[in-house]
Amino acid sequence: MSPRGAACYRRRVPKAPLLAPPGPPTISFYWDGAPVAACPGDTVASALIAAGELATSRSAKYRRLRGPACLHGGCGTCLVRVDGRPNQRACLTPVREDMRVEPQNTYGGLDPTALVDQVFRRGIDHHHLVVYPRIANQMMQGVARELAGFGELPDAPPEDVPGVVDHAPEVLVIGAGRSGRALATSLAAAGHPPLVVERRPAAALAGSDLPARLLAGVGVFACYPQERLWAAASEQPPVLHRLRPRHVVLAVGAHEPTIPLANNDLPGVVSARGLADMLEQTGRKLSARVVVIGEGARAELLASTLAAERVPPARVRKLIGARRVKGVQLEDGKILRCDLVALAPDPAPAFELAAQAGAPIHFTGAGFAPVVDADGRIAAGPAAHPLEAEGAQTAPPPPWTLWAVGELAGATTPAEIRGTVDRCAAALVRALAESPAPKDSHDRA
C-alpha cells in the first residue's frame, strides 16, 4: 500500500468548520485529493483547521494521528507534502490556488498499524524490541524501516537554479515579530535602518509596521562564529544568504513547549499563543469550542483572547478523543467538551542561535536563555566545546556585538517586551555612534 495516493479509496466526510472566514473564500486547493476553500492570508494549516481537518500525518513509532500544533513553525508535526515536495511546514506555507497538499505517513485513512497502539500498551522500547531470535529480529528491522521515515522522496529534482547572496549590514535583526519590528522602527527613526530577516513568508506577515529592509521567507539557520558569519536560506527559490553584520539583535521569541498531559498529542491540541496569532494573522474567527490549559497571567490573557474556559494543568486528568480531541477530562471526572484544546505553557526562549554564537546559557525555570545585561547585550565569544582538548585554540572574538530583545531577553508581557526593545535600541544607537561603520564595508548587500 502506498502512503500516498490515498484519496482514491478514502471517502471524505466533510467536517464541521472550526474557524469562520473573514470574507468569501477565493482560493481553492487540494487536500488529500479533495478541494478545500481558503482565503488570502491563510496558511495551509489555518485553512485545514478552518475546514476541520486536524490530522496531517501519523507518528513513526506509535502510529498516532498528528496535526499542526504550535502553529508557529517550531514543533515539526504539521509536515505535509506540497506539490510533490515532502516535509513542508503547513503552518508557514501560504495557500496557493490549486496547490496539492497531501498527508504523510498515513497509509490512507485505514492504518492497520494503529494496532500497534493496542499491542504495545506499556510502550515500545525500541532498543529491546524483538531482539530474539535473529530471524524475527531481522523481520522486525525490515518492518521498522518501512514504518519509520516520514515523507517520501520529492517527485523530481527542483528546477530553480540555486543562488547565494552576501550581506554586510550594519545591524542585522533576526525575527520580524512584535519585538523585531518595534526595534527596527526605533533604529530606522535614529537613522540606522537594520536588515530584518524573517522565516515567515511575506504573504504571512500582516501589519503596517513592516521594516523597510526585510528578507521574508528566509530562515536564519545558524551562527558560525569560527567562520565569522550567520547563515540563512529560503527554500523556494533556493537561496543561501551569508550575513556578516557588525551588530546582531536576536528577536527570535520563544518556543511553545509541550505540557506533559495524557493524550497531549491528539490532533486539535494546539498552542494557545499560536492559535491567537493565527486568528490575528488570517482575520478568521473561532467558531469552535476551545479549552485553554495553562496557569498564570499569560494563560489567563490568552483564554480571554480566545473567549475560552481555562483550566490549570494540575486539574487535568487527560485529554479525550481518538482521531481528534473531543474534550478535557478533569481530575474530578468532569468532562469539558471542546473542538480544540489550546495549551498555554510558560514559553521557552528560542536560545539556539545565541548558544551557537557562544552565549552563556542558563535555565530560567521555563526553558533555556542566554545571559543578557539590562540593555539586552550578550557577552559571547566562540565557546570551547566540552569535549575539545584542553588548550584547544579558541577562535578570535567575533566581529559583531550580540543583543537580545523580547521574550529571548526574558520579557513576557507586551509592556516588558517594549521595555527590552527601548533599552536595546538606545544602547545600540550609542554603540553605533561610538564606532561608526568603516566607509568601505558599510552595508554591502
Partner: protein, 403 residues
C-alpha cells in the same frame, strides 16, 4: 531488559588487573570480550574497570556514520572486516539490544581512471580472500540506486555483505553485558594522571580517587596523546576534526552506503530514514594539530551539498536536519596502533583507528582480549605494533580510507 550505561557514582576498586581508560567502542568492546574470556579454563577471573570521562557515546563512537564494510584495499583489513561482519550478524542477540545492522551493501563509484584501477585491483584481491565484491558498470550502479546521476561514473563495485549500523547501541550493548559479567564501569570521571609503579600503574582520577592496575589500556582514541605524553610515549597519531550531517527522515529509498572515491563523499540511509553523509574537505588539515576543535562549519555544508546534489540531483529538494563533528584519530600509515607501548609494555594502546574504528571494533575487541587473557597473538597485532614507528620508514598499505 538491561540498561547499564555506567554511572558517575559506581564504586571503583582500589586494585584491578586491567584498567581501561575510555568508554568508547574500543574500550567497552575489549572489556566485554575480556569478561567473556577470563575466568574460563579454571583461571581466576580478571578484574576489569572501565573509566570514561563523559557520558557513553560522547566520543567518536557516538559521532560516526555507522558504516561497516569489507571493501578494503589490503588483504589484512579485508580479512579482519570479514571477521567483524560475521560477528555483527548475531551480535544483537549476544548483546541483547537492537543494533539495526542492515546489510544493504557498499557501492563504490570511480569517476577517474586512477579510481577505476583501484576498484579493479580491489575486486581481484577480494576474490582471492573470499569477499563477495563485484565490479559494476555505471548502468548497473544506477540500477541499485536509481536516483544517481552516473554520467561521470566509469566503474563501480558492490559488496552485498557491507552495511550500516546504529552505532550508539553497540556501545550500550557492550557496556550492559560487560557490567553484567562483573566489569566495573565508571562514567563522568576522567583519568588526569598516569603514574608508573614498580608493578603496573596508578591512575589518578579528577575526583581525587586513585586506582592501581596491573595493566592499563589506553582506549581514549583522539585524546590518547595527552595520556601517552605523561609517560614519555611518543606516537604519531593525531586528532583531526571530521564533520558529518543527517537529513530529514524520509521513507526508505536508498539501500547501500554510496562512496564517491573522487570526492570522498559518502552517504547512506539510516533505519530512521535520515540520509547520513560526510565528505573529505579538499584542504583539510593533515591532523598535525594537537588541539582538537569540534565546531561545525558552513563550509562543510556547502561543499558537501554541491557534491551530493551533483551526484544525486533529487537531494537538492531534501533538507538538512542536523550537523555535528567528531574526532578522527589519524595514524600516519593508515594502520591502527595497538599493543604494548614502547618503554611501557603494560601500558597498552588501542588507538589510531582513523575513520574506521567502529566497524573494526567487534573483531579488535575479541582478538585483543584473546591476547591479553590467553596470550594468543593475531597476525594483525604485529602489523599494528606501536613500536613500528621507532624503526622508521612505515609504508602505507591501505588506500581505501574515506573521509
Amino acid at each position: 531488559m538491561t540498561v547499564a550505561m555506567g554511572r558517575a557514582d559506581t564504586p571503583l576498586p582500589a586494585d584491578v588487573d586491567v584498567a581501561v581508560i575510555g568508554g568508547g567502542i574500543m574500550g567497552l568492546g575489549l572489556a566485554y570480550h575480556l569478561a567473556l574470556l577470563s575466568g574460563g579454563k579454571g583461571k581466576q577471573p580478571l578484574s576489569v574497570a572501565v573509566i570514561e570521562r563523559s557520558y557513553l557515546v560522547s566520543g567518536a563512537s557516538g559521532r560516526n556514520g555507522g558504516g561497516v564494510r569489507m571493501q578494503w584495499g589490503d588483504a589484512g583489513n579485508v580479512r579482519l572486516m570479514m571477521d567483524s561482519i560475521e560477528l555483527c550478524k548475531d551480535l544483537a542477540q549476544q548483546l541483547g539490544i537492537n543494533l539495526w545492522f542492515r546489510q544493504g551493501g557498499y557501492l563504490f563509484l570511480a569517476r577517474t581512471e586512477a579510481g577505476e584501477r583501484r576498484l579493479e585491483r580491489n575486486v581481484q584481491l577480494h576474490g582471492e580472500v573470499g569477499a563477495p565484491t563485484r565490479l559494476l558498470t555505471a548502468a548497473e550502479a544506477q540500477a541499485i540506486v536509481p536516483q544517481l546521476d552516473v554520467a561521470e561514473v566509469r566503474l563501480a563495485t558492490f559488496n552485498p555483505e557491507d552495511g550500516v549500523v546504529f552505532p550508539w547501541a553497540f556501545v550500550w550493548g557492550y557496556a550492559a553485558k560487560a557490567v553484567e559479567r562483573g566489569v566495573v564501569l565508571r562514567t563522568h570521571t576522567s583519568v588526569v594522571r598516569v603514574e608508573p609503579l614498580a608493578q603496573g600503574f596508578a591512575l589518578h582520577l579528577h575526583t581525587g580517587e586513585v586506582v592501581r592496575a596491573r595493566r592499563v589500556v589506553n582506549a581514549t582514541g583522539a585524546w590518547s596523546g595527552a595520556l601517552n605524553h605523561q609517560l614519555g610515549i611518543d606516537l604519531p597519531n593525531r586528532p583531526h576534526r571530521h564533520e558529518i550531517l543527517s537529513s530529514e527522515p524520509l521513507k526508505p529509498f536508498l539501500d547501500p552506503l554510496v562512496v564517491d572515491l573522487s570526492s570522498g563523499l559518502y552517504f547512506s540511509q539510516s533505519t530512521r530514514g535520515e540520509l547520513v553523509t560526510g565528505i573529505s574537505l579538499p584542504d583539510a588539515p593533515d591532523g598535525s594539530d594537537e588541539s582538537l576543535t569540534l565546531h561545525s562549519s558552513l563550509r562543510f555544508l556547502t561543499h558537501l551539498s554541491a557534491t551530493l546534489t551533483r551526484l544525486m540531483p533529487i537531494t537538492a529538494a531534501m533538507k538538512v536536519l542536523r550537523q555535528w563533528v567528531g574526532p578522527y584519530d589519524v595514524s600516519p600509515d593508515g594502520d591502527a596502533i595497538v599493543g604494548p607501548s614502547p618503554g611501557h609494555p603494560d601500558f597498552i594502546q588501542v588507538c589510531g583507528f582513523t575513520g574506521h574504528g567502529f566497524m573494526m571494533a567487534p573483531a579488535v575487541g575479541r582478538l585483543l582480549a584473546r591476547w591479553l587473557a590467553l596470550g594468543e597473538a593475531h597476525p594483525m597485532l604485529a602489523r599494528w605494533s606501536p613500536g613500528r614507528f621507532a624503526a622508521g620508514g612505515v609504508a602505507r598499505r591501505e588506500d581505501m580510507i574515506i573521509g
